[in-house]
């Protein structure tokens, strides 16, 4: 499975915690929905224990959904192919020894 099954359970518990519900309201103005994590935990266990293809596909769908949610906006900038050329170029000023 994409994550260790215990990770799904810990995400579920974390999601339902008071702190997280507070932070979610503070950020989004709504309550978080945590059921999916519990569902994913169930499917993860099914996949591991019984090699259930249904469970496997359900879990994969859920995770792909999560990835899609993170990437559904159009970025304002273009991603680079290579890191900036001057990232490690030596500093050209005579800096005092404080850095």
């Amino acid at each position: 499975p994409p994550r260790a099954c215990d990770d799904y359970w810990s995400e579920f518990r974390h999601c339902k915690s008071l702190w997280n519900r507070f932070h979610h309201y503070y950020t989004h103005g709504t309550s978080p929905s945590c059921q999916q994590w519990k569902e994913d935990y169930r499917n993860c266990r099914e996949w591991e224990k019984r090699k259930s293809t249904e469970a496997k596909e359900a879990l994969q769908r859920s995770e792909r959904n999560r990835v899609a949610e993170q990437t559904k906006f159009t970025p304002v900038w273009k991603l680079r192919q290579y890191p900036p050329r001057d990232w490690n170029m030596p500093l050209n000023q005579d800096k005092p020894q404080d850095s």
Binding site: D7, R80, L91, Q93, P96, D98
Partner: protein, 233 residues
């Protein structure tokens, strides 16, 4: 917080010790040494223990921009209340040794500037000419660094609840832009509003908005496991 290139036009005046290559002498020197020393220690601690910073450092290394403390970080004196900045022209994160007094503040500033550095590394950000790019990175930095967490805002006496986080992010992004560009409040607001939705929802490399250290630890765990994750989708 800002991406400085020229005196006056890009906010360089906030960082008077950049590009001056001088050695501070005299009785002030001892005070500077203590500030500087403390800054270095807090920076080291942040890099080693803050899950926010560790995740960003790891992500940057994997994007080809490994950070070296001596090359990419600089503790300096700054003007006013500025806490830090990212200088794209020298690929350095500036930390204001005279304005950062607590470890928690250092952790936040380091995270904030690392978000800028991360954006610089993975995208073609035109810091100097494209205000939408600048706004986007400021929105992300305010959003992901804990700058706008409930406790941080409460400490500023900004008590808000429902969706206050977003108001805070918007406000801080606008302020950051105004601090380094000579544009009006209205124009800054317009630009931030234009890119807000996209940039507020860009959580790279965290994969979520880390509201707390626990969130950040979860995000770090996910990041470390990303190979397994993507190969099993």
């Amino acid at each position: 917080m800002d991406h400085t290139k020229q005196e006056g036009e890009y906010g360089y005046e906030l960082f008077p010790h950049r590009n001056m290559g001088k050695n501070k002498q005299g009785s002030i020197a001892e005070g500077q040494f203590t500030f500087n020393h403390k800054c270095q220690i807090m920076l080291q601690f942040a890099m080693e223990t803050s899950p926010y910073a560790k995740l960003l450092l790891s992500a940057m290394k994997n994007s080809g921009c490994k950070l070296f403390k001596d090359r990419h970080f600089s503790c300096e004196d700054c003007d006013g209340t500025v806490s830090g900045g990212f200088d794209a022209s020298s690929s350095q994160i500036v930390l204001c040794q005279n304005n950062i007094r607590q470890q928690s503040h250092m952790n936040r500033v380091v995270t904030h500037e690392l978000v800028h550095a991360f954006d610089h590394c993975r995208a073609d950000v035109d810091w100097f000419n494209n205000l939408r790019h600048l706004a986007c990175s400021e929105i992300r930095a305010a959003n992901l660094s804990g700058d706008c967490s409930f406790s941080t805002e409460a400490a500023r006496f900004n008590f808000g609840l429902k969706q206050h986080h977003q108001d805070c992010v918007r406000g801080r992004a606008i302020r950051s832009i105004l601090a380094v560009r000579k544009i009006g409040q209205e124009e800054a607001e317009k630009i931030v509003n234009e890119v807000f939705n996209t940039c507020f929802n860009d959580h790279a490399p965290f994969g979520r908005i880390p509201h707390s250290k626990k969130d950040a630890n979860f995000a770090y765990r996910d990041y470390e496991n990303r190979d397994r994750y993507y190969s099993n989708l």
